[in-house]
């Protein structure tokens, strides 16, 4: 079905493409929710935690700030956000339903008790390293080398050998940073944001909250008040970051809200590619997660931000799972700058996430490539905003939503062409794939155009994984699960191609695992 083909200057809401008519009764009957046994990342590491008192108050914020030995300006910044947050209301416009969150029921800070700083990887508690091993996360430098032996290369050889540097965030505190020295040689700053506050206070102060202001939205304001830790990256003028940067976030302590704050700055002519991958242990209580990611690209700079998200989605009855309320935004501040978001979202019980680009500089480019998979009773409301402010700014949106089980998957996007954005261009394509007939796919594109010379294209399709396709593929000798994986990989191919190689492989297996048992 083709919907929302037109380009309008007004809001265009074309929704509720729900499948009711059954093509394949056996598919329907056997459509099973994702079973908890399928989630191999579900386990809890047993180490002592240093917690803030339960609940949220000025005292909690002072506790967090004191724990991190933060300067006065940052404490004030947090407190100002908290005061504002108290006056705000939780948004309800997204197409997601979840029980009311009692914000006083969460812990807002948890750190491994033995402290945050490790001189070397040998000082990291064994349990933590084991956790990472179970997840297959390559923390040790040797394991980080992707098929390359030897860990002592110079920055020069690093440029020729593609590798990934990992900043491991274990709950709230960064416990290990690898490849730091090598990056330093190239002039790249890559560390936890808590460290950056101490080591590069001026840079942090200059950019923090300038892309996602404190007052931006309920969840971003909450994050500003209580952010725990996250990543800071600064790539200086003219530097092409010698390796892919990667962070693995992992929530671990029971009832711990997780509030990462990431800030990435690419100075004039710089380039950086950042990979973010996530898994979380299984548990019964819903976990709150409200991250903020800010990207700043100055003149001629380029930032590529890729995410593979695989948090605990809850069990087949919709119990448990992560609530994921994320604010991600990039500011193409300089002329000819470029920011590209690529995401593969397969986890979380509730996802509320709209990685966006502000195309401020003339000739700047914003891209959004997304694969969102929902199964079981997962709910995802995700999309992007492309705000065209500069002249000849261009944006491209490719969204692939896959719904299975009893899940709901919504694409919500905004393309806004400001009156000064001469000759702006946007291309949007949102495709939905339905597996079974108890899931929903919704497309909610908004277009605001103030320019007659803007070129806007929008394409949308909704298709079902059909019995015809399944039979055709199986007749050729390909088994049922493989057939689903093949068809789904075909559906998302344009987006997978945007991922860095190592992520593309991981993403393919993730898609397969996420959709196991969805037909049959």
């Amino acid at each position: 079905m083709d919907c929302c083909g037109g380009i309008d200057e007004h809001e265009d809401d074309c929704t509720d493409v729900k499948v009711k008519d059954s093509i394949d009764q056996s598919t329907v009957d056997a459509a099973k929710a994702l079973e908890s046994e399928n989630y191999s990342a579900g386990f809890v590491t047993d180490i002592e935690m240093d917690m803030a008192p339960k609940g949220l108050s000025e005292d909690t914020i002072r506790f967090i700030s004191a724990k991190k030995e933060e300067p006065e300006w940052l404490l004030e910044w947090r407190l100002a956000a908290y005061k504002r947050w108290l006056t705000m209301e939780e948004p309800t416009w997204a197409m997601v339903n979840y029980p009311t969150i009692n914000y006083q029921d969460y812990y807002y800070y948890a750190a491994p008790k033995s402290g945050a700083k490790y001189e070397s990887i040998d000082d990291v508690p064994k349990e933590i390293l084991e956790t990472y091993e179970k997840l297959g996360i390559p923390l040790r430098e040797a394991e980080v080398l992707l098929g390359v032996e030897g860990a002592a290369e110079t920055a020069a050889t690093a440029r020729e050998t593609p590798r990934v540097a990992v900043d491991a965030v274990f709950d709230s505190v960064s416990v290990a940073t690898t490849f730091r020295k090598e990056l330093e040689k190239a002039g790249v700053i890559f560390m936890s944001i808590s460290e950056a506050v101490h080591e590069y206070p001026n840079l942090v102060k200059k950019y923090l909250g300038t892309v996602v202001p404190q007052s931006d939205n309920f969840f971003a304001t909450l994050n500003s008040a209580v952010f725990s830790d996250g990543t800071f990256v600064y790539v200086p003028k003219g530097v092409r970051c010698p390796m892919e940067l990667s962070t693995y976030f992992r929530m671990n302590a029971e009832n711990t809200g997780q509030f990462e704050r990431t800030l990435i700055i690419a100075d004039e002519g710089a380039y950086v590619s950042y990979l973010e991958g996530c898994t979380a242990p299984m548990r019964d209580e819903n976990q709150l997660h409200a991250a903020v990611v800010e990207l700043v690209a100055l003149e001629d700079a380029e930032i590529k931000y890729s995410t593979v998200q695989n948090w605990w989605p809850g069990d087949e009855n919709g119990k448990g799972g992560i609530y994921n309320f994320v604010t991600k935004r990039g500011d193409c501040r300089g002329d000819r700058s470029k920011i590209s978001w690529t995401q593969v979202e397969t986890g979380s019980a509730v996802t509320w996430k709209y990685p966006s680009c502000i195309l401020r500089g003339d000739d700047s480019v914003g891209e959004f490539y997304s694969i969102a998979v929902t199964n079981g009773r997962q709910q995802a409301d995700t999309g992007t905003k492309m705000i065209h402010l500069g002249k000849r700014t261009r944006s491209r949106i490719i969204s692939k939503g896959i719904s299975a089980g009893k899940s709901n998957n919504t694409y919500r996007g905004l393309v806004s062409i400001n009156r000064k954005a001469d000759n702006a261009r946007n291309f949007t394509q949102c495709d939905s794939l339905l597996i079974g007939d108890r899931c929903g796919a919704h497309t909610v594109p908004y277009v605001e155009n103030r320019r007659a010379d803007a070129q806007l294209e929008h394409e949308a399709t909704t298709t079902k994984l059909s019995d015809d396709q399944m039979f055709y593929v199986r007749q050729r000798g390909i088994g049922e699960e493989e057939a689903v994986a093949l068809l789904v990989n075909g559906f998302v191919r344009e987006v997978l191609q945007e991922l860095p190689m190592e992520f593309a492989v991981e993403a393919q297996s993730l898609l397969k695992v996420s959709l196991e048992g969805s037909v049959g």
Partner: protein, 256 residues
């Protein structure tokens, strides 16, 4: 002369419960190794249903009788198991598989079948070599084989892609369902050349067609007439010519 496909008194229905309709109604047929048999019949005789029942499509229920391939009961097998046993269906309406290049698809199919049979995967150079040769014979250039399977191809190209898959997978029993539909005379000849190249003493073939035209290019050993779900007449190639001349009504009137 050994029987390859043996169908005995087969009955099958389509549809659910109360709506179930008997389409195959006591069909008996033997196709020996090395022979090509044609099944002809008017619309609604059950031709396509027979091909789906034999290949295991969901929604078709066998209510009686049996079907064996090389002595093995195939009716309880999943479609992919039957494929691994060497059963191949060339579809009347090949299905579009967006985002999956032809060669990627065929290689996945080939390796799945090999895995099921406990054989090694085909090496990339061997696969490419074989693909190039077969593509050349069927006038499918390398660019076409990199495109998504059946997406944006003409009717004739889709049929050639079916034959390409067949020649790559080297099945031992082929079912061609209305392979001539939608083909112009040149495409028909290319397709028929491909099918004829597959004829061998070790292979059996069932050619399902409405018209005699295809049988000028693929000479059958036997022709069967299907009507109301069963074989009502069997003969040599001359039967197809008679059908062409007298129409189904003439023949069916005679046997009825």
């Amino acid at each position: 002369m050994r029987t390859m496909l043996k169908i005995e008194n087969l009955t099958a229905t389509v549809g659910e419960d109360d709506d179930a309709k008997t389409i195959i109604n006591g069909l008996t047929l033997d196709v020996p190794k090395g022979e090509v048999h044609a099944i002809m019949g008017p619309n609604g005789a059950g031709k396509s249903t027979l091909s789906y029942v034999l290949t295991g499509r969901d929604g078709y229920e066998v209510t009686g009788g049996s079907a064996t391939l090389n002595g093995e009961d195939i009716l309880d097998m999943d479609p992919e198991e039957r494929a691994a046993k060497g059963l191949f269906l060339s579809f009347q309406y090949p299905v579009e598989i967006p985002g999956v290049p032809v060669m990627t698809f065929v290689r996945a199919a080939m390796n799945s079948q090999r895995k099921a049979r406990g054989e090694d995967e085909i090496s990339a150079p061997d696969f490419i070599k074989q693909s190039r040769e077969i593509g050349k014979a069927l006038k499918l250039d390398a660019e076409m084989l990199k495109r998504s399977l059946n997406v944006g191809f003409s009717g004739g190209e889709k049929k050639r892609l079916e034959i390409y898959q067949m020649m790559m997978l080297e099945p031992n029993f082929l079912i061609l369902d209305e392979t001539d539909s939608g083909l112009d005379i040149d495409a028909l000849k290319t397709v028929a050349d491909g099918v004829n190249a597959m004829r061998s003493p070790d292979r059996g073939m069932l050619v399902i067609t409405h018209y005699q035209r295809l049988l000028d290019h693929i000479q059958p050993d036997k022709v069967h007439v299907l009507s109301k779900g069963r074989i009502v007449a069997t003969g040599g190639p001359e039967l197809a010519h008679r059908l062409e001349k007298e129409g189904y009504e003439g023949i069916l009137g005679e046997v009825a």
